[in-house]
Amino acid sequence: MKRLLRPALLLFTSRFTPPVVVGIFLLAYIGIAFFTEDALIALMELTRHSAVLVGLLALLPLNALGRVATELRAVLARRRALSGSGEPCAELFDERVELSGSCDFDDLKQRFAGLGYRTRQAEGSLGAWRGISGSPARLILLAGSFCLFLGILISLTARNSSRGALIEGEPLPAPSGNGGVVERIRLAEAPGLILSKSLEMRVAPLGRSAGATYGIYPPGRHQGAYVYPRYLGIAAYLQFSAPDLPQGYQTHTVLNIYPPGKDAALEVPNSPYRFVVSMPEPADGSDPYATGRMGIQFKLFKGKDALFSGSVPAGGELVRDGYRVAFPDLRRMVITDFIEDYGVQFIWAAGGLYCLALLAWLPALCLRRREVLFVRREPGLILACSRSEGQGMAHGGIFNEALDLMESRNP
């Protein structure tokens, strides 16, 4: 058991684990790219269905967590050592040297204080430090990595998505059943730098459930699922009759024809008739979806032959040559995805943590952390330790100067 524990601990705390895991996925991507154009999607699918790859991916957040623990342990141990209450282990410092000498720590303390170091003298030890440690930035970065990889893992393996059409006046097509009735869909111009439009989908309360309003971004939640509006369109009720189709044909249909200029095809089943529909652009340049003044422009085909084309406003009809085309009802519709994905929050949190880590790291970059520690061992023997983040040649000079001083005072 112990033999397994050590490599496992190494895997969960080693700095090498992330590049190795990322390297494996990269090689997998390269291999897949030889066989398909959609290599990334194929890799994601493969990962979803492969326990080995999921396990590998799970190593990343676990490793980040392990490294947070190791880093915290090192920070606390170094703090204790500098305050004189802990043992200065070899891995805590860059340099460790024992020299014979007797030194008045008061003198050293004054010397370091004069050089801008903060000092702490305890019984038999003197610690001095200056600058800002990069440890907080590293901890935040590791926390961000944990959130990021955990979010990716959850998103990849546990994301459920269903698509439905939100139509004004119709029940909300939520995966968990009836969540209310879509009362109103409103589109308007939006001020702001990022979004050009605002979309408001108001759902009336049903029974005990409270009503809700869903927008574009950030997406609202309905029973744990994100309400993610994708495309705007029209829900139309079509009535069609033709000389050779006297019984007529009527259907409710969803047409992805917004913004104006997009075409959609609509086949009349068991007949040679086919419509190609689009939304006409109003002459005044207004947005029909926003104003609600919607119409349908259509071309009617019988087989390959175009019979005629026309334009019908909402509630209107067109009768010609024995053909009748009517759209008694045109309503606003939003194709919406309902997505259950708890990884999204983690990924956003990771972004925030990375920004925070950068902010925390910048001052540490300018004022690099330098530490020295002197501990009296046996009489006449002093253990001197030094650590600097970054190359720290100037700090090395100060440390060596202090050692020279101690040695010169060796009787």
Binding site: R15, V97, S196, P229, Y231, I347, N400
Partner: protein, 444 residues
């Protein structure tokens, strides 16, 4: 032919010099094994071209070049981690990498790839032709001639085991980038572009970002940059240069020797100065490698290959709506070259080409593919190249739909020539160009 082989032999000379400098105790052995590897590479290409005519030989060695770049990435990442980890367990340059087997393996591997590239360069003359036969003796003579020259180079110009991989891979890629079918940079750009496109798309969907309709056009313009050819180029440059940059970083971050045990200031400083000087000198060869990588990317981007790209000849349709192109007339369709044509119908036009493939069968295709902007195609070195994304399509596969292949058009081959439907041609061109224009603009 000599001029064409010059960059390859210059690269081979550079590789030999690097190997000799990296393994000073085994210089003659490295020269000999390198030459043997070179011969093996030439022989392998010769065998593959004879046994499997077509693109297989090029595909295998291009794959091996890609493998060498991956190896450099691996070595550079390990080097950075080793430099920044105090308690890295692996010995620095000791053990395996000091042994004769390592020197021999490096020399042979480098020789095989260098020989294969040279052989691919002269493959146009056919395996067994005179240039082929002269390659190996010339390379061996060069390798041994460099022995005394390398001894005259400054002794302070040293090379660590890690840094050895960088110049060797750089020179191999420089050598291969002058050959269209071995070039890695152009297909890398294409793959990066595709990856960036897929990644951005997936990321935006995963993060529930609104569709482009809801986003301000100026912002979508910036996002649209990520879908363009530029991101492929710059992304490929990052992948191209980063390993050497990491090697340089690893050398810079290497810890200086500890001097805390020395009590005399001058001695301490002398030790540090010596270590700093050695470190600086070890940067020279990786810096030169960076320049060589730059040269390889430049060669790929601006190849000195002349593409066969004839001006499209105007054609008209018969009253029945058919376009007929005689097999022999102003041009000989059976000459194995690309022949381009332009058909206009009112305001609409379509560009297409006719090509007789190596199998002796004709193919008629649009001068555009289903993915890229319709910049058209050229022909060189047994391939057809898409001008937009620089993808090489072997002549044997032209006529098959998919990927960056030109869109095939239905046609009939009759006694009097090639017959194709004008309306179908116009419609196919219209559908293809409309789609690729949308791709260019970006969006979901």
């Amino acid at each position: 032919m000599l001029l064409k082989l010059l960059p390859h032999f210059l690269s081979w000379a550079g590789i030999v010099l690097v190997l000799l400098r990296a393994f000073p105790a085994r210089r003659p052995v490295c020269a000999a094994l390198g030459s043997a590897g070179f011969a093996a590479g030439v022989a392998a290409v010769c065998f593959l071209l004879r046994a499997f005519p077509g693109d297989l030989a090029f595909g295998i060695f291009r794959g091996m070049m890609g493998g060498s770049l991956l190896l450099l990435w691996f070595v550079s990442v390990v080097a950075v981690y080793r430099s920044t980890t105090r308690d890295f367990a692996a010995p620095r340059g000791g053990g395996v990498t000091d042994g004769p087997a390592f020197a021999g393996a490096c020399s042979i591997a480098a020789g095989v790839l260098a020989g294969a590239v040279c052989a691919c360069r002269v493959s146009g003359g056919g395996p067994g032709s005179l240039p082929f036969l002269l390659l190996v003796p010339a390379a061996a003579a060069l390798a041994f001639a460099l022995l005394p020259l390398e001894a005259r180079l400054p002794g302070s110009l040293t090379l660590s085991r890690t840094a050895l991989v960088a110049p060797v891979v750089a020179l191999l890629l420089f050598s291969s980038s002058s050959l269209l079918r071995l070039d890695l940079f152009a297909p890398l750009s294409m793959k990066v572009m595709k990856f960036a496109h897929d990644f951005v798309h997936q990321f935006m969907e995963s993060m529930l970002f609104p569709d482009h309709f809801f986003i301000r056009s100026y912002l979508w313009g910036y996002i649209g940059l990520l879908f363009g050819e530029g991101v492929g180029f710059w992304g490929a440059l990052v992948i191209w240069f980063t390993p050497v940059a990491l090697v340089l970083l690893a050398l810079q971050l290497e810890r200086l020797p500890s001097v805390a045990h020395i009590r005399q200031g001058a001695r301490r400083r002398k030790l540090l100065a010596t270590a700093l000087g050695e470190r600086r000198r070890r940067l020279v060869i990786p810096l030169l490698s960076l320049a060589v990588f730059g040269g390889a990317a430049y060669q790929s981007r601006y190849p000195s290959v002349e593409y066969w790209d004839p001006k499209p000849l105007a054609v008209a349709a018969t009253p029945a709506g058919e376009i007929v192109i005689p097999k022999k007339g102003d041009v000989d369709l059976q000459d194995g070259r690309l022949h381009k044509y332009l058909y206009k119908q009112g305001a609409k036009e379509a560009r297409f080409f006719v090509l007789m493939g190596p199998s002796g069968h004709f193919t008629v295709d649009l001068d555009a593919c289903a993915i890229c902007k319709p910049d058209g195609y050229g022909q060189a070195e047994g391939t057809v190249i898409c001008y937009y994304c620089k993808t090489l399509i072997p002549l044997e596969t032209v006529g098959r739909a998919g990927g960056c292949n030109p869109v095939p058009i239905n046609f009939t081959e009759k006694e009097d020539g090639i017959h194709l439907d004008a309306l179908a041609l116009i419609n196919e061109w219209g559908n293809t160009v409309q789609t690729t224009t949308k791709v260019k603009e970006g969006g979901k």
